[in-house]
Symmetry: C2
Subunit: 179 residues, 2 copies
DNA sequence: CTTTTTGTTTACATTTGCTAAACAAAACAG
DNA sequence: CTGTTTTGTTTAGCAAATGTAAACAAAAAG
């Protein structure tokens, strides 16, 4: 649990001295020093204060970094077909489980639908590349046409259906990954 | 700071009693009760323990919920044109600054490029809907064709350019929002 | 109603979060 | 090089909070 390191990094990035930071959030400079070297751990309340003075918050503070591959071609794709429901999914960014976002490309046949997904945390975004689909959220239902998009928190059962006579393609991004 | 509520919610969601949770993370059930009702606040270390037993972590724990509008039509779009660089941007999900992700649709004219973006935290994903673009990351440069995508951490200056003879369209998602 | 299970509250020991002040080390000035 | 300032580290200590054990209450089960 190297909170100290991250705080120090933030402080320096903000061009502050321990003294200045201490003043800002009404703590002693000594304590800031201790925190940065992980000799002690602040309470959650004071951690919030500190982060506030560093222009951030708990949420952003606990979101990490670093990676490798960047561009993904069509053959990187892992494909999954579902005959019953009449859709197939292309994972266009391989093993993105470890990322913040997981984008997939889903193609839904006329009369088909995506796998209903149970409620979970996070957010989902979709952009309809072609065709028209219906977004089902709990027992609500929204029409989304080509060029339109949707954005929601998946706190209810949710899926897409294609009730038109043409295939539909949707670029679907979950954050965090859920598939 | 209603940490307790969230913990209780998680506990119930995992089908655990206070007792069970207490056993799992070697705390007293009384303490769990206090924490859930915000009568006391756990130390960061024990919060980590608790979250671990609930199948989550600080990072995910501090990512919030609740929203309103879901489907966005073309006229919800805020448009911005840049004659000099030869691109225009459509914000397809209005004021998504407060979300985890911010999707935009950027169209780049032949010879044009996007605004170079300075390094920041988070991740970015793009899907080329039409044309071919180059992704510039620091002094690296990647070709990305129609149907291909890219995913990276924007820790270097980054932008897109279109060196072809046709316009290119890219769906670009930043997490967290940066524009 | 009695027994178990689940959750709340109280009294208490211990730890730790945090301060103030002394100390050390750089940075700066003349 | 020597003295002054600024920045960071360490120590001693205490009030406050973290966490426990056990008693208590309420709800569920039998």
């Amino acid at each position: 649990m190297n909170i100290g390191e991250k705080i120090k990094h933030l402080r320096v990035k903000n061009g502050l001295t321990q003294q200045e930071l201490a003043n800002r959030c009404e703590l002693s400079k000594g304590f800031i020093s201790q925190v940065e070297r992980d000799l002690t751990s602040p309470s959650i309340a004071t951690l919030v204060d500190i982060l506030e003075c560093l222009g951030t918050n708990l949420k952003d503070f606990f979101n990490d970094n670093n990676d490798e591959k960047i561009v993904f071609q069509k053959d990187d794709v892992f494909l999954q077909e579902n005959q019953d429901l009449g859709h197939y999914i292309r994972w266009i960014v391989p093993n993105s489980q470890k990322n913040r976002m997981e984008p997939i490309l889903i193609q839904i046949q006329p009369g088909g639908s995506s796998e209903p997904d149970t409620p979970h945390d996070g957010e989902e975004f979709g952009y309809v590349i072609g065709g028209t689909v219906f977004l089902h959220l709990g027992n609500q239902k929204f029409r989304v046409r080509k060029g339109e998009s949707f954005y929601y928190k998946p706190s209810l059962v949710h899926y897409l259906s294609n009730e038109s006579r043409y295939p539909a393609t949707v670029l679907w991004v979950s954050s965090p990954p859920s598939f």
